[in-house]
Symmetry: C2
Subunit: 258 residues, 2 copies
């Protein structure tokens, strides 16, 4: 397939596979669902899937591949998960030892890939509703415990957005309609109530003092399962690199509830 017959998501993945796009996926293939990746051996797949089931708000699983298959046949049947994410992070014994632009050399026959909904997917719906998504947005560690499964455990990681009161209401309404993609906020207001660590954001710059008239709003974040997998200290675990999500062929609208 070439040119005009390609979906924009397919075109972008071709560019990524060819090494011509290596940066963030934010803003690419607008309107298509983006996924966080978690790639691990089948021996740990039950516990990880169970972790995701037990913490569905943070870990909305959209597809799980068959062991050894690099093809997400439901979300992107023409894709290859070994090459079509712009940047992968490699974790060994829980330590991020390197990033790579493809993982063909590391691929194992027992690898199972989890495609987990990313908040990036609903930016479009928020923008359409008049809620800005490109600034005043951070990813933060909290002290809210998640429910463990096997070796997978840890506190929840959240996305914090700074909104006006009206935007906070609108954003709550809009995201409630994506129950399979983090859904409604898990908290609003005082960051300390959920132990959100403003001093060391995982992504986003330093957090300035909260301005008057601004309401911090918090959503469960898809970095949570990655953090849980890191805590499990598997010999080898592969994820998308932060802000380099995998682009699927699924229209973001498809995740919207009634």
């Amino acid at each position: 397939m070439t040119g005009p017959d390609l979906l924009e998501s397919q075109r972008v993945r071709q560019e990524i596979r060819a090494g011509r796009i290596t940066g963030t996926s934010r803003g690419l293939a607008h309107g298509f669902v983006q996924c966080n990746l978690a790639i691990l051996p089948k021996s740990h797949a039950f516990d990880f899937l169970l972790y995701c089931q037990r913490n569905q708000r943070a870990c909305p699983v959209l597809e799980v591949t068959d062991a050894g298959s690099p093809v997400p046949k439901k979300l992107a049947p023409t894709a290859d998960l070994r090459t079509d994410c712009a940047r992968y992070s490699i974790y060994r014994d829980g330590i991020r030892t390197e990033d790579r632009t493809d993982i063909a050399e590391l691929w194992q026959d027992d690898f199972v890939t989890f495609l987990i909904g990313s908040g990036i997917s609903i930016d479009g719906a928020l923008e359409n509703a008049g809620v800005p998504t490109h600034k005043d947005r951070w990813v933060l560690q909290t002290t809210l415990p998640t429910e463990p499964a096997g070796p997978f455990r840890g506190d929840m990681i959240v996305t914090m957005r700074w909104l006006t009161a009206q935007q906070a209401l609108t954003a709550t309404q809009v995201t409630s309609r994506f129950p399979f993609n983090h859904g409604a906020p898990i908290h609003l207001g005082d960051p300390a109530a959920i132990g959100a660590d403003l001093k060391a954001p995982l992504f986003g710059g330093p957090v300035p003092p909260i301005p008057d008239g601004i309401v911090p709003v918090f959503w469960a974040c898809g970095v949570t399962p990655q953090s849980a997998a890191t805590n499990a200290k598997l010999p080898l675990f592969i994820a998308h690199a932060p802000a380099h999500s995998f682009i699927t062929d699924l229209p973001a609208q498809a995740l919207m509830s009634a």
Copy 2:
């Protein structure tokens, strides 16, 4: 705990455990979520959980216990899954060989229990909206394929309700708000379009000719995963007996989306 401090769900489970209730769970502990049970060895738990993830409409997993534990600590922390369902069906090599009122003698240390949302849970919401649920309701085999995982596979099983056009619209609106409990109908109108087998209902009596002014409406049914597990022909698989669901302490409202 005794008497007035008990939830109605806990009181009913006590009666079941004591053998004083052995019949259907339909109509019991109104307003509490009822679950279908699937109990199988941990060796098959990943494939079964994956089957449920891949067929979420039919198989909304609400809780998965830790291997060996008979306590669903989230949905009913005071319950014992070996005794607190009124009737269990025992399947050996895919054949239903017997029903039992408790399974303590059959319990294994590697058993994992899946608690899967039952359509019975949303009867209350439908009734409140003026949609009758107690008659003109059947469970039917279809020819809609589900997505397999490991040995778990089969065609979808559906609940068919006969409704007026207005009731069909209301029922669609109401059930859309339960995305984690079968959600909206999967079909409406001609039963043949989904290969629904009207000649051999799995539950409900013989299906009469469809009266004028009646619209058949079809929902994915929680019997689907049980059917998939039967098709897998495991040496031992235990489920709730049809219409004898496990009663949890979760209010049905809790599953309602925005």
